[in-house]
């Protein structure tokens, strides 16, 4: 979701907009605004808005605003954007007698307030006002900020006066141009040559960003805004995997990596306070997933902050539809946050309208990245917004899932998944041993092995070992499953170890592995395969896995399959004979 370039927006601005809802925007500036106008129209096109823009001639603000029969009022804009630039302001400041400079900001504010009042007395319209970008004229150095007659002093005061005035004014929204400049810095935001040659105070490369904030504000004012954030848990809200690492093992809180996650949670909590609904969608057992919210001392988010909590092993697109139905809001008002690119791709391809930010890999960057996206634009704020979470918590649970998704099978088929299986080798020993020690959820017998024990079992005649890797068109999942088979009992292959990474669950990997195990038994000339499930506090999710895959429950947690009559499980994963 990176921003388009100015050139791309310029192309988009020429496209046919007749199919989109239309919006009339007038841009009045005391600088050249044609490129800005092009960028805004292009950005709006990308958002499926048909912007009809009146780009007024340079420096005609007074004439257009004061004359009730001007082209501005004839155009009857739904939104008016007022852009008075710092550069022109400075020229005016320099011609203002020093004696009047202590009140320079107030004087400018009165002029701007006059524009607002006059426009809104004449037509009903929403006014967007750019703040003034802050620039030091370096006349007083640092002393400027304690010198009321300096330009920096008056300039910063003026931005504050704008905020105060907008609180009292009716339908006026400030677009914080200065805020945008402060992210990239003045030397990137402003191109002196463009200003002197063409009176453009904003560098071409910054126009898409400015256009975005304008279109975002118009969209919010017209009712297009985000209402709900759907959150993944492991790797997104905290570091680590709650099902494997446990309450003590996940990263959240003051120390180390945990700090980035707590800060992220603080921000989400602020969103919730302002009326954004938080929902959870996690591949987990529900009780395990809820544990940190209930018991972790350093979790910022608590269960009562979450309006809908979905933790199960279904695919996330189905679960998100479920959440949407419960909340009864539009998909286009939902944002899905997940650190896993597979889940993001699945959700955005099956649910086209939902917003799915491509979170950076490093959790330290989540917050900055999301803030830059400016996802949570709004045009109002009231006390009811704060109560929204409770309201939705109460309503959720009544509505049943109705919506049908695009076919999940088709999606899996399109993933082009390939798995590779091989006996344990020295290179993979440390990773295999580590998995046996760490995996808790998809782990049938939860037997832990050291490196030495893995090496021993790999060379032992009685055992057959397999590790499995998986990759798909999005990339490599690495070593995802470990199987140890025991031939101790005559005619029987006993599955003495089977664990799998939960990240690849429900993609046909478990079917692929069972098929592979049956094939081993066949090649060894054995008649029966026996699996065992030993329950622990964390592995309930695989209690029925053998049964689901075609084994017969023979009691005592044991399951059997007959090699000759076993029906191969369907899977879209193809076997790869060689690897790397």
């Amino acid at each position: 979701m990176s921003l388009p370039t100015f050139l791309q927006l310029s192309r988009a601005s020429k496209r046919d907009i007749s199919a989109f809802p239309s919006h009339r925007l007038a841009i009045l500036g005391d600088c050249a605004t044609q490129h800005l106008s092009t960028a805004i129209r292009g950005y709006a096109f990308n958002e499926e808005w048909g912007f009809d823009v009146l780009d007024a001639d340079y420096n005609q603000i007074d004439a257009l605003v004061l004359d009730p029969s001007s082209e501005l009022y004839e155009f009857a804009p739904q939104t008016v954007l007022l852009y008075m630039c710092t550069e022109s302001l400075y020229e005016f400041f320099c011609t203002t007698p020093v004696s009047q400079r202590p009140d320079f900001a107030e004087m400018i504010m009165e002029r701007i307030r006059g524009y607002w009042v006059r426009i809104q007395q004449t037509i009903r319209t929403h006014i967007l006002q750019f703040t003034f970008v802050v620039a030091d004229d370096a006349v007083f150095g640092s002393y400027a900020l304690k010198t009321p007659i300096s330009f920096p002093f008056q300039l910063q005061k003026l931005n504050f006066l704008l905020m105060q005035a907008s609180v009292e004014a009716g339908d006026v929204t400030l677009i914080d141009l200065n805020g945008i400049q402060s992210v990239v810095g003045r030397s990137t935001f402003h191109d002196e040559r463009l200003y002197y040659i063409a009176k453009m105070p904003i560098a071409a490369e910054m126009l898409p960003r400015v256009a975005k904030n304008v279109v975002d504000a118009v969209s919010a004012r017209c009712g297009r805004f985000k209402k709900c954030v759907v959150l993944d848990l492991d790797g997104t809200l905290w570091g680590g995997v709650i099902g494997d690492d446990g309450l003590d093992g996940i990263q959240v809180g003051e120390l180390g990596l945990g700090h980035a996650f707590s800060d992220f949670q603080l921000w989400l909590k602020e969103l919730r306070e302002r009326g954004i609904i938080l929902a959870v969608c996690s591949k987990n057992n529900e009780d395990i997933a809820k544990e940190p919210f209930e018991c972790h001392p350093e979790m910022v988010l608590r269960l009562e902050d979450i309006s809908v909590f979905v933790a199960n092993w279904e695919d996330k697109a189905t679960n998100i539809c479920h959440i949407q139905q419960k909340l009864n809001i539009g998909m286009d008002s939902m944002v899905f946050l997940d650190d896993n690119p597979f889940e993001r791709e699945l959700v955005s391809s099956l649910i086209p309208n939902i917003t799915v930010p491509q979170l950076p890999e490093d959790p330290a960057l989540y917050l900055h990245f999301l803030r830059e996206l400016n996802l949570f634009e709004t045009a109002s704020y009231s006390n009811e917004d704060r109560g929204r979470t409770e309201q939705y918590r109460a309503e959720a649970g009544r509505v049943e899932l109705q919506q049908q998704l695009g076919s999940f099978d088709e999606y899996l088929q399109g993933l082009d998944m390939k798995a590779f299986a091989a006996p344990f080798d020295a290179f993979h020993t440390p990773r295999i041993a580590q998995l046996t020690q760490r995996s808790n959820q998809f782990n049938l017998r939860t037997i832990r092995y050291t490196d030495a024990e893995i090496e021993a079992v790999a060379t032992d005649e009685q055992h057959i070992t397999r590790y499995f890797t998986l990759h798909d068109r999005f990339g490599e999942h690495g070593l995802v499953s470990v199987v140890i088979l025991d031939k101790q009992i005559e005619d029987t292959l006993f599955i003495s170890e089977w664990l799998m990474s939960c990240r690849v669950l429900k993609r046909g990997m478990e079917e692929f592995i069972i098929n592979a195990i049956m094939e081993v038994a066949r090649q060894e000339g054995l008649l029966k395969v026996v699996g065992e499930y030993i329950p622990t506090a964390k592995n309930a999710m695989v209690a029925q896995i053998y049964k689901k895959l075609g084994f017969v429950d023979v009691g005592d947690g044991r399951f059997e399959a007959n090699v000759a009559t076993f029906e191969t499980n369907t899977t879209y994963i193809k076997e790869e004979k060689t690897h790397e």
Partner: protein, 79 residues
């Protein structure tokens, strides 16, 4: 980079900016020869050329260039 190479790279930039894959430019080409090359698109063009050649024109060059040959002169000196 030779003048020919600069010109061929410029041709790609022009094709992008003026959205015309068949555009042909020579050192003699002036703004009037290219559909859409007005003062507004000139700014866009300058930004794209700077981006592509990783350089910045001086203010006098942005205004002073009479034809593409002038632009090539400047880009050649940048090397």
């Amino acid at each position: 980079m030779s003048r020919i190479e600069i010109l061929s790279q410029l041709q790609k930039v022009f094709a992008e900016v003026f959205d015309d894959d068949d555009i042909v430019i020579t050192e003699e080409t002036v703004a009037d020869d290219v559909d859409g090359w007005d003062s507004l698109n000139h700014i866009t063009l300058i930004a794209e050329v700077e981006d592509n050649f990783d350089m910045k024109f001086a203010m006098k060059d942005v205004i002073g260039m009479k034809n593409i040959g002038d632009m090539v002169d400047i880009l050649e000196l940048e090397e």
